[in-house]
Symmetry: C2
Subunit: 257 residues, 2 copies
């Protein structure tokens, strides 16, 4: 991406923080007035240890209810900050157990959690055909009432691979880039009967994964032929036939640099 | 087992109900005054549909915080009860999402969820060596601070296989049988780093799985040699060196008839 790197202030060092969260009880990543957000909790916890107000930068901002097993952020803290090698332990003591810091490491001065990332990968978990979701899996599994055919899901999904303008699959946001390279969009059925979609791209625009899932499902359930998904892409217009799938099935599983 | 079968009353039919639950927010299976229990919730929901007060009988009573992916119960309801084929759907509408009915089926008159069961299997999930538990896995994964050696865990565990008096591994309960046949007690390390113990027996006495896990861990961490676990078994006395592992790591995964 061409956005300028944010330079490191003198006397500060840049930390890369790897973390995981259960998004169920958060209004998403980004701070919002009177709402509990993941960035809000992290900013408060890290600022306490750093002794200054920090401004986290994240690889992939996740929506309300979306989870992460491997999110990455960076944050600049005073070099003189106390006891950084023990911040994993200390931050996890401050944070609620639905956010866990996995690793805190020194990053290069020009490392940027968002702009240096070359690929993001998500997984979507879906119980189709009115399957009953086991209680222990209810937080990260969405449901759909119709039966889905894995081959049809994959046929529709593979048509969308490559570099395209994905504007038809993105919720509108000012100044949002919508040309993205979709590198992976593959469905499997687990032994338990749950469907998973593995979806990777250089970057995603707003609500893109959940729209892609919705388009694949419309083909997978037999409502449309796969050419319909191709047509959405080609027409570059949002279509109301495509259902945006719920946040709870979605997890950010990998960020590559 | 030699306990008498509970006979079916005239005008009633016996239903087998397969179910799953997240035990996190329950004070276990059995009803207790002023506590939310799994049997309590089920008795209330089924009685509502059956039009009479029912008395569920369960394959394996689970302690507070213990989960089940495949629990089995039976219940006797009036043959004239309304709309039994739709009870899966109707019960799941009444129950909170941390209990899910998977199947309701007609059972033979002499089917008994507890006495007809020939084997119960549990899985214990454990994050050793201060591994950080991913938030989405926190409800069914216990933690231990020391590193555990899978080979040592399995050496100790395999010594306990077979028919023995497991009194040393059971919390005291009046009239409890403690001679059990342990058929499986095997540890594996998942790719994620989490340890699992698969534990099967004809039946278990009170808190036996969590005691077996504690004894294996004492060997797996190098505190004792495997002969120590054998000695506990032979001495038939509860030992304070063996730690009873927490409920949240334990899940009932199979009942065989």
């Amino acid at each position: 991406m061409s956005e300028p790197t944010v330079f490191l202030a003198s006397g500060f060092c840049r930390l890369r923080i790897d973390l995981s969260y259960d998004g169920t009880n958060y209004a998403g990543w980004a701070p919002q007035p009177d709402q509990r957000t993941i960035e809000g909790e992290l900013t408060s916890a890290i600022s306490k240890l750093a002794g200054v107000q920090v401004e986290p930068v994240v690889a992939g901002r996740t929506d309300a209810g979306v989870h992460a097993t491997a999110q990455v952020m960076h944050v600049d803290v005073p070099k003189a900050a106390d006891d950084i090698p023990n911040w994993v332990f200390r931050l996890n003591r401050i944070l609620d157990p639905d956010i866990r810091i996995l690793k805190v490491s020194a990053a290069a001065d020009d490392f940027h959690a968002r702009f240096s990332a070359v690929e993001r990968e998500y997984q979507y978990r879906l119980a189709d055909n009115n399957q009953i979701v086991l209680p222990l899996e209810r937080y990260n599994t969405a449901t759909w009432f119709r039966a889905l055919d894995v081959d049809r899901l994959n046929e529709a999904s593979s048509l969308l691979l490559g570099e395209h303008d994905f504007v038809a699959f993105c919720k509108f946001r000012e100044d949002q880039k919508t040309v993205r390279t979709l590198k992976k969009f593959h469905w499997s059925r687990l032994d338990s009967g749950i469907l998973t979609a593995d979806v990777a791209a250089n970057a995603f625009c707003y609500s893109m994964v959940r729209n892609l899932v919705g388009a694949a499902v419309a083909v997978g359930e037999g409502r449309f032929e796969k050419e319909w998904a191709q047509a959405i892409l080609d027409n570059k217009e949002r279509v109301s036939d495509s259902y945006v799938f719920p946040a709870n099935g979605l997890t950010l599983v990998k960020v590559s640099y």
